[in-house]
């Protein structure tokens, strides 16, 4: 066995009122891919922030031994100098700058006081070749897709002579192709001696990639599993992460779908003036009462655009075609019109355009339906607290009280607040866009259970998801969307991952 490149010994980190890490020891062997898994709030990000110097030496107890020496990182700069690079879920690139400027941002190649741009471009090209990214180094980062941006980030890390590369949820915004690319690259880097720590919620990719897996739960290291000894399996991981066995992560339900059509879209076309191209083409779909309809497809295939075009068209697409809600023809000019017709939309980006992070739980929950708790435009704030408390208990939102600001909640609980907000408008049709992105297994199960309860009560759900197992596990019927078209429709009995992938990529 190789020598450990990194050893974190007995790390304890406390925040006011919480012990985020309790005596955690963590060892990474040189040249391996080491996955760090655990539910949200288990302490993975905290541990990596200590390693990278975001939480400086002295704010935690315990030792970090990296490359044989005890390290006292005071800032990210220190850890980078030692050869640790971390790539966060939210990419840290400057969209308006070019690829080469981004790669060498913060450690520019200079010739005296002047930046040597020719050398920079040349070296950037070499870095891009290393990550097998075929783009012009002079392109602006904003012109690249998320997958390519991720590779630019990795190129940036490689340009700093990284010895240990940490990736925090790298695939949460990637489609299957980009994921595969990334995995190939990571294996390739491994062969070139770069050690990699991968934080992930997606157990499939953990199983595919990891040499070793460390499971954290509630701020403690639960176990370290070795793939070469066959210890890494989905059930083993889940068992250790949640501390209980989940037999089926997609809960069962009775399918009671009526023939009543809640939403029907006919000959639906959309053009985005912003992008200058057609984004939706000849779409004909319907949703029945009590049904969960899955929208599968690759990232950028037009699923979210379709949902937004139905939900009052806030991005100003030029639309043609017809919408029928429970048989009646409708025209929505603003999300407000859609809400009034009983449609709700839980956005895929809960932090960006879903929640108001600086406001508290109750204000977020009631925002879309303030009139229900108001009399002559005056909000009854006592009634508001009651409403929020009802949802807090019915959706099991983990927060000390409803006056807590949403920014302080974990991802899964933020998602529940999002869902609560839209349940409070009492919709007939709930559109969920990537409802379980970036949340842990336990919270996923809870979201699925809530969905099942809702359709049993007669609500209809459109679920947009990039995770095929989720589409297969939850939907009654699947529309596959590809390049702005509905490329296929499958009843759940006939749907398989292979069939969906084939339709999504043609």
């Amino acid at each position: 066995m190789n020598t450990p490149i990194l050893e974190m010994r007995n790390i304890t980190k406390e925040f006011p009122g919480v012990k985020a890490l309790n005596n955690v020891s963590f060892q990474v062997v040189e040249g391996e891919i080491h996955c760090l898994v655990g539910e949200n709030g288990a302490g993975k990000s905290t541990l990596m922030k200590i390693l990278s110097g975001v939480y400086p030496f002295g704010t935690y107890t315990g030792d970090i031994v990296f490359g044989g020496d005890v390290q006292t990182f005071l800032s990210i700069r220190d850890s980078e100098k030692a050869g640790v690079a971390i790539i966060y879920q939210e990419l840290a690139l400057v969209p308006e700058m070019t690829v080469y400027e981004n790669i060498f941002l913060g450690h520019e190649i200079s010739n005296g006081p002047m930046v040597d741009w020719n050398e920079t471009i040349k070296r950037a090209g070499e870095m891009l070749a290393k990550v097998k990214l075929d783009v012009n180094p002079e392109a602006k980062v904003k012109e690249l897709g998320v997958g390519k941006q991720q590779l630019v980030e990795i190129a940036k890390a490689l340009s700093k002579d990284v010895k240990l590369l940490i990736l925090d949820e790298p695939t949460s915004a990637l489609n299957e192709d980009d994921c595969e690319n990334l995995f190939d690259l990571l294996r390739d880097l491994k062969n070139h001696g770069v050690t990699c720590v991968l934080i992930s919620h997606k157990l499939k990719e953990v199983i595919a990639l990891a040499d070793t897996v460390t499971v954290l739960r509630d701020g403690q290291a639960i176990c370290t599993l070795d793939a070469s000894k066959g210890e890494v399996s989905e059930s083993a991981l889940i068992k250790n992460m949640v501390g209980r066995e989940i037999e089926n992560i997609y809960p069962k339900r009775d399918h009671k779908i009526s023939e009543e059509i809640v939403l029907e879209i006919k000959n639906w076309n959309g053009y985005s003036p912003l992008l200058g191209r057609s984004i939706l083409k000849d779409i004909n779909i319907n949703v029945k009462k009590g049904e969960i309809v899955g929208f599968a497809g690759l990232m950028g295939s037009g699923r979210t655009e379709l949902a937004l075009s139905i939900f009052g068209n806030p991005d100003g697409y030029r639309l043609s075609g017809e919408i029928f809600v429970s048989g009646a023809r409708k025209q929505f000019n603003h999300p407000q019109d859609a809400i009034r017709s009983g449609i709700a939309y839980v956005t895929e980006d809960r932090k960006g355009d879903g929640l108001i992070l600086i406001q508290d739980v109750k204000q977020n929950i009631t925002l879309a339906n303030l009139t229900e708790i108001s009399k002559r435009f005056v909000v009854n704030r006592n009634a508001e607290v009651n409403v929020a408390n009802d949802y807090k208990s019915s959706l099991n939102i983990k927060t000390p009280d409803v006056e807590q600001r949403v920014v302080n909640l974990s991802g899964g609980n933020q998602q529940k607040v999002s869902v609560a907000k839209w349940l409070f408008v009492r919709p007939n049709l709930l559109i969920l866009d990537e409802p379980t992105r970036g949340i842990d297994v336990g919270a996923k199960f809870e979201i699925y259970t809530i969905m099942n309860k809702l359709v049993e009560q007669g609500m209809s759900i459109i679920m947009i998801s990039s995770e095929l197992p989720e589409i297969l596990g939850m939907s009654d019927r699947v529309y596959i969307i590809s390049s702005g078209r509905v490329s296929g429709e499958l009843p759940i009995a006939e749907a398989t991952q292979e069939k969906i992938m084939e339709l999504a990529t043609n």
Binding site: P314, R340, G352, D353, I356, E403
Partner: protein, 394 residues
């Protein structure tokens, strides 16, 4: 012992809300000492409130503008220009006072809607759109006064708005040097405050919510009542409540109620917190932008009326730098430059802090150059206090 702990807890949780009041109190106390009590004299306080009036109403409107992540630089010269229009309407067009005031308030709303059109419809950054307004209204003010220069306003009713006081109850001879009606109004305010507080507490209890422990609740009632009482007593010692004070109080109370209690207020803060999320929640960001800038325009007109009335004339430089005073007052009062956070009441206190500094330093005979530097220091410390307490608060 638990009483002290409760009190500490309440103070710590509300330090941001009380911070402004405490700062104002400390500033007033310092000036009272350094001027041998001259600062706190009834006459000076009364004067100070009248001087604050025209900036205070602007600060109230500016609070909402900054909360929805915009800024309005045009309000100063808009106020100056509309003050001149009011003067022209009375002097040259011979409109009755209240018709003239209604006319300029209407113009103010229109000017605000024009800004909103540029910002919400044409998507021009508010900084640029209102900088254009700053130039344009300055030109308009010069144009309006070009033939006459300063326009003297002879109308007594109009001039009383900025200089006059509410009448006293006639025919009562007790307390000859005290303004009785002001005292009565102060008492009524205290009674209304106490009844409101008790009702609010009862309602909360009816919902089974946690309320303040009874002893702390009573201390709060007594303290606030004492403050209202003290202010009333000081004002009653001179000539009572001025009309300016009445107008500012009414405007602040209406806006405070609107922002804290109504659906409109919620929508404004939601847009400030996250405009995309607000739009997707069915709130029309455009509509609210029109409302906020429209209200800002109306308050600019009111500010212009207050200032013209105070000077009893419309001058060619009226409104100069009002916008920056209003913005500074809002920031001192705890409005966040990032949007979504800020209280109308805080901005009013911020405006009072600014005028208190000027008034106190004038009384002490401090040179104007130093005055600016002191005000700069206070502005910066207020925002530092705000930023540091915000990160620790929930």
């Amino acid at each position: 012992m638990s009483f002290v702990r409760d009190l500490q807890k309440v103070l710590r949780q509300n330090i941001r809300e009380y911070g402004m009041f405490i700062a104002l109190f400390i500033i007033m106390a310092i000036f009272t000492v350094t001027t041998d009590g001259l600062f706190i004299s009834s006459r000076n306080i009364s004067n100070l409130i009248n001087q604050t009036g025209y900036v205070a109403v602007l600060a109230v409107g500016m609070t909402l503008v900054i909360v929805i992540r915009h800024i309005d630089l045009s309000v100063g010269f808009l106020a100056g220009f509309l003050g001149a229009v009011a003067a022209i309407a009375m002097v040259f067009w011979h409109l009755p006072v209240f018709a003239a005031i209604a006319l300029v308030l209407g113009f103010g709303v229109l000017a605000g809607l024009l800004t909103a059109f540029l910002v919400a419809q044409m998507r021009i950054p508010a900084f640029v759109a209102t900088l254009a307004g700053w130039l344009g209204y300055r030109g308009a003010l010069l144009l309006a006064t070009v033939s006459t220069g300063t326009i003297i306003i002879p109308d007594q009713t109009f001039n009383d708005i900025g200089n006059g006081f509410i009448p006293d109850i006639p025919g009562i001879n007790i307390l000859p040097d005290i303004h009785k009606l002001t005292l009565v109004l102060g008492l009524i305010a205290i009674v209304i405050f106490i009844i409101n507080s008790i009702n609010g507490r009862r309602k909360k209890q009816a919902y089974n919510f946690e309320v303040l422990p009874a002893n702390i609740f009573i201390i709060q009632l007594v303290f606030v009542s004492a403050v209202i009482g003290a202010i009333t007593w000081v004002l009653a010692g001179y000539r009572g409540l001025s009309w300016t004070a009445v107008i500012v109080l009414v405007v602040t109370l209406i806006y405070d109620f609107m922002t804290n209690q109504t659906v409109l207020g919620r929508h404004i803060y939601a847009i400030g917190g996250n405009p995309e999320a607000a739009e997707l929640s069915g709130i029309s960001v455009k509509k609210i932008t029109y409302v906020v800038f429209g209200s800002m325009g109306m308050l600019s007109a009111l500010s212009g009326v207050l200032f013209a009335s105070r000077l009893q004339s419309a001058t060619t430089t009226a409104g100069t730098l009002f916008e920056l005073d209003a913005i500074a007052a809002a920031f001192i009062g705890g409005v966040s430059p990032a949007g979504g956070v800020g209280k109308v009441m805080g901005s009013l206190i911020g405006a009072l802090v600014m005028t208190s500094l000027t008034s106190g330093m004038n009384l002490m005979g401090i040179d104007i150059s130093l005055q600016y530097i002191v005000r700069a220091a206070v502005l910066v410390s207020a925002v530092i206090f705000d930023v540091t307490t915000r990160s620790s608060g929930k």
